[in-house]
């Protein structure tokens, strides 16, 4: 069975929000749209977003590190948001594991949002139905698009290539290899929701330099020749 998912590389995410804007642009004009924007140019803009980039600071100054953390629906393998939906509007697609909302059935009761520990679902203030990341279902299932374009909008937009997309059930996929070889992890594993999306941890590049290495053993400038020369011919005079 296929389980499509994102793998987000926190090591290279620079927090530019390109994924946020491209997600909003694609989805507000696509199948899931419109995604409301309220007071976009006023003091407190708000609206529906499928994907948000948050920022955390780890440690205490001056030993701090900034973590940019993109967050969207994780398309859980055991989605707790699905069984609680009274109408059946929330469902998990059997063919590719994407968790979706049928906007024609949703009554806007918000119960599913209570049942998602990640806060991945947002009620659209205009349409009054529940919305969340669709993994750009209208792109990734569109056979008319080229292989290269058949990816979620955020993945294509990321300038740092921090977002990988693929089938996490296929052990040879790019995402599975990344999870396996680079310590990919799930959010809030304590709830047993089995998120399909994974995160690749930050990795500090550290170079260990031994003090001895600071003095090169084969330093050409090191004075080794201790002979005192008095004008006689040396090897340098005959060989060139």
């Amino acid at each position: 069975m296929t389980q499509l998912a994102l793998v987000i590389d926190l090591n290279v995410c620079v927090g530019c929000h390109a994924c946020v804007t491209s997600c909003k642009e694609w989805n507000t004009s696509g199948w899931a749209g419109p995604l409301v924007d309220q007071n976009p140019y006023e003091g407190s803009p708000t609206g529906t977003f499928f994907n948000r980039v948050q920022t955390f600071e780890i440690g205490t100054f001056p030993n701090t590190e900034t973590l940019h953390f993109p967050k969207s629906c994780l398309h859980c393998e055991e989605p707790p948001c699905v069984p609680v939906c009274p109408t059946g509007a929330s469902y998990k697609r059997a063919d590719n594991g994407v968790v979706l909302v049928d906007y024609d059935k949703c009554i806007g009761c918000k119960y599913c949002s209570w049942a998602c520990p990640y806060g991945a679902r947002e009620l659209d203030a205009q349409q009054q139905v529940m919305k969340k990341c669709t993994l750009c279902i209208d792109r990734i299932t569109d056979a008319k698009l080229s292989e290269r374009d058949r990816k979620p909008s955020c993945v294509l937009a990321c300038p740092a290539s921090a977002r990988l997309f693929g089938d996490v059930h296929d052990p040879d996929s790019e995402v599975s290899i990344a999870i396996r070889e680079r310590g990919g992890y799930q959010l809030m594993p304590e709830w047993g929701t089995q998120p399909s999306n994974h995160y690749l941890p930050r990795q500090k590049m550290r170079l260990h330099i031994d003090p001895e290495e600071l003095t090169r053993v084969d330093n050409p400038l090191r004075r080794e020749d201790l002979t005192d020369y008095t004008g006689e011919e040396t090897l340098d005079d005959v060989a060139w």
Binding site: F56, L67, K71, V84, G108, C109, Y118, L187, M188, W191
Partner: protein, 325 residues
């Protein structure tokens, strides 16, 4: 969690309605067993119509909770997995049975249909009363399980949520039955008042146990598990929106902790000791207005209690929405 008035009124109104209906059926059962003098059919009929009115008011309030109320009927679809769906099915069922019970009494359809054992004459009202009682209890469970079944909200995820809903509803319903009897000058006021006091005390025990449990709660999720970083100091600097979002509106009550604490003290006084004292006092001085006051005070307290129930609950998603700066 953000306390929504629609849900506060829904749960308290239908709780009182179900409780009043249970009180009517209990009264009838006691009368059949000759522990109480038999009442006129009109007494039960009007009582159950008041209960029906409360149920209808609660249902009306619930529609304000929905983004798309016109599609509300769809909510009956997933009863196999969703407690919300189960509630949506059982609520109209209870309403129908309460209505039928009232109508059967109103028109005096009390000819025995069959006999159980030597003495028990089963008529239509008794049959409907028993069915309605079972349905009412099921509705209490469904309503409470909507909250108790959300395992992420650890404050709610306990059987005490169910016992709270059950005993609060029953207590306010019996209190209303006492008020109703007092209003029409029926001697049953002592009977209902006594039951109301007993149920109120059980509700008190249940709610105090719930509060005590929640004080000691250990939260499963931390900001460390939320973002997967092992460090003691992780502080959120931005949540991806400056003007708030659905996540900040739905999952935070936005009031000061002091207010939450004060309201808790207020409802504990309004729901428990005050009505009990008023009922006791009404026995002593034979007042007919005190039971009515007791009901309204307790109901006001229950509205605050339900507000607190939401405000106390901390959703793990809040870990992602701690700071805007």
């Amino acid at each position: 969690m953000h306390p929504a008035f629609s849900v506060i009124f829904l749960t308290t109104l239908i709780g009182a309605g179900q409780g009043l209906y249970l009180a009517m059926v209990t009264g009838q059962l006691y009368a059949i067993a000759r522990f109480l003098p038999a009442q006129t059919d009109q007494f039960y009929a009007i009582g159950s119509l008041v209960a029906l009115a409360l149920l209808i008011a609660g249902l009306g309030a619930s529609f304000f909770h929905l983004g798309r109320p016109e599609r509300g009927w769809r909510a009956a679809a997933m009863w196999r997995t969703s407690w919300l769906s189960r509630e949506v099915i059982i609520l109209p069922l209870v309403m129908t049975l309460v209505f039928a019970y009232g109508v059967a009494h109103w028109f005096g359809w009390t000819q025995p249909l069959f006999q159980v054992g030597a003495a028990l004459q089963v008529d239509l009202t008794l049959l409907l009363g028993v069915l309605g009682t079972v349905a009412s209890l099921a509705l209490f469970i469904c309503t409470a399980m909507i909250y108790a079944a959300v395992r992420f909200i650890q404050e709610w995820h306990t059987p005490l949520t169910v016992s709270n809903f059950l005993f609060f509803g029953a207590a306010s319903g019996f209190m209303l039955a006492a008020a109703y009897s007092a209003y029409i000058g029926n001697p049953l006021v002592t009977f209902y008042g006594t039951w109301a006091v007993i149920l109120t005390l059980i509700a008190l025990a249940s709610r105090l146990a719930h509060l005590r449990r929640n004080v000691r709660l250990k939260y499963k999720s931390t900001v460390q598990t939320a973002i997967g970083v092992r460090h003691a100091t992780v502080i959120q600097k931005a949540q991806g929106a400056t003007g708030g979002s659905f996540n900040t509106r739905e999952f935070f009550h936005g009031r000061s902790p002091v207010l939450v604490k004060q309201l808790r003290m207020i409802y504990i006084v309004l729901v428990f000791p005050l009505p009990v004292l008023l009922i006791g006092l009404s026995y002593l001085i034979g007042s007919s207005s005190l039971p009515i006051t007791a009901f309204f005070i307790q109901f006001a307290g229950l509205l605050i209690e339900r507000w607190s129930f939401f405000a106390e609950a901390r959703h793990p998603q809040n870990l992602y929405y701690q700071s805007v700066a």
